[in-house]
Symmetry: C2
Subunit: 344 residues, 2 copies
């Protein structure tokens, strides 16, 4: 038992196989297979025998062999930039919950946003015979390529918005109406000079769009000097906020931040200026991360429905994998509800 240690410790010495079951039950492998799958009628008596032998031997079907024959692995892959990022962790959980019921397992790949790794993982996923993949990689660089590599793999993209790959569904949060709600809320609270701290420069994002709409609807001008850029981080938010406050007579009375970290940085800045949130300046964020309830004051923000995104991605995938749906690529956008706390 410990002689042959050269290459590896023989991971599974002698597992019971279907053939052994068949032999002991005095039937053919075919029959055993059928009592397991129920794909063909087997006499009650025989079933009973087979089942009892299965129990006795503790037989468990070998999924690898099964996959080889059926060309289905009952496994879906999710490729994310970084599972460590709560958003993706929650998304992954939603996906897992969605597909678990149908017997699918979840295979995770972290790309760190690196397109090469994205490609490599996509190939890996294909090679491993996953039945479906959800691409939550930010860049949306690589999509299940239509090239020689893998044509028909059911796929759904998350958030990427980009050009629609046929046979790849898309699910995304409704950033625009989310930010619209946030800014409307600020206006309702009496704010008139509302700034926005967005992501890095190549802007024109959906979140900015909601901001513009809300302003327009309420007859407020959009003033370029009130639109500044952060980098999604806390220090970035702090810097941007200081910039907004640098001209004392032209200060905003509220600011909409394109994500929570930025908002938290903005709050830091406000406090450094010995001003109060929300009395002097109201602040709202976007995402509703855990930290939003920790910060002081608790952050009013827009919820980015990570779990639901993962879950519907899973459902979309399921329908394609089951063959229930086979049409053009679908696009579902999920609502981003405003959650009002104390910062605005």
């Amino acid at each position: 038992m410990s002689d042959k240690r050269s290459p590896a410790p023989a991971p599974d010495e002698n597992r019971v196989t279907l053939v052994q079951v068949a032999k002991l039950a005095g039937v053919s492998p075919t029959t055993v297979s059928h009592v397991l799958s129920g794909k063909r009628w087997v006499a009650e008596a025989t079933q009973e025998t087979v089942r009892s032998v299965i129990r006795e031997l503790g037989y468990r079907p070998n999924n690898v062999a099964r996959s080889l024959r059926t060309r289905r692995s009952r496994m879906v892959a999710v490729v994310v930039p970084d599972i460590t990022n709560t958003f993706y962790a929650v998304l992954t959980r939603g996906l897992a919950d969605a597909v678990d019921g149908a017997g699918y397992g979840t295979y995770v790949c972290n790309t760190d946003g690196n397109p090469e790794r994205e490609d490599a993982f996509l190939a890996d996923v294909l090679d491993r015979g996953a039945d479906g993949v959800v691409m939550a990689a930010g860049r949306t660089a690589a999509q299940p390529r239509t090239g020689p590599a893998g044509p028909g793999l059911p796929a759904v993209r998350v958030g990427g918005s980009r050009d629609d790959e046929p046979h790849a569904d898309l699910v995304m949060p409704d950033d625009t109406v989310g930010s619209h709600a946030a800014v409307s809320h600020l206006i309702r609270r009496g704010a008139r000079r509302i700034a926005i701290i967005e992501g890095p420069l190549p802007a024109g994002s959906a979140r900015e769009e909601g901001y513009r709409q809300a302003l327009a609807e309420n007859g407020l001008p959009v003033e370029p000097e009130l639109m500044v850029h952060g980098d999604w981080t806390r220090p970035g938010g702090r810097r941007a906020m200081h910039l907004l406050m640098s001209a004392p007579e032209r200060r905003p009375d509220a600011v909409f931040c394109a994500n929570d970290l930025t908002a938290i940085g903005a709050i830091d800045a406000v406090h450094e200026l010995r001003l109060r949130v929300p009395d002097d300046i109201a602040i709202v964020g976007f995402d509703d991360v855990d930290a939003a309830t920790i910060v002081n004051p608790p952050l009013t923000t827009v919820r980015n429905p990570a779990y639901d995104i993962g879950r519907t991605a899973g459902e979309l995938l399921l329908s394609r994998m089951a063959g229930t749906y086979d049409g053009e690529s679908r696009k579902v956008v999920l609502p981003c509800p405003l959650v009002v706390r104390e910062s605005a």
Copy 2:
């Protein structure tokens, strides 16, 4: 191409197989296999031909078939209570990073701490032919059972501390010296009446042990009235803190909380009493979650090295999977460094 839609959309119509490559290259499958694996010498010329055909056809080996034959899947499983919990997400990432280099993928299972699901997933993992598994399930209920199900699967447990399963390694954080460092720090800062807010009742944890040691070493008495219980949550911490403060003349001047959430709740309570942290009461937590830097004041805490835990778990697993190590079960405990911020 769209006739037969009944069961499923033919996930991979016609992938190139090794046999096709062989045929086109005018060699036997054996040879192709060998140029791929390098397990046998193949003449330069032949190699060149084969490789070019492979490129031309875009051939990719089918991993399922390979796994069936070799009985290795190049996949490790990690079963955690909930990937949504940052600790486990980070741990998973550490594991993934560790095994990725060796070509292993990562399969994730969320048990929600439910022992039945734990069992089910373990079975699933076995059936899928994973090459190794790390059990981070809190309860440590199910271990890779020595029963008929799966004997030789390399496994490592995380944190569970429980009885040592042969051939299952164990990696855990050094809770005791971590909390010892935390409490020593408080003492060094001048605290004399140091309370502890632990987890739920059946206590006697390693974290309490460090607390007792530090007290003893410094000639401080351990007073039962200063030892109270939370439930790992923020509200729980708040309640416990209020309890500690209920007898004004016997209040602590510092408190060590068995996790960060509890500490944050404790800070809430202190603020509600119009006292200051750390001036009136110093507070230190345990875990060093993201929120620790968000809360005000930033939390002094002990880092729970999730990433390193995952990473070493991965390394332990690798050594067993490669057959490099085949001995008794190992146990590695990782340091939990104190990170001093402003709350103590």
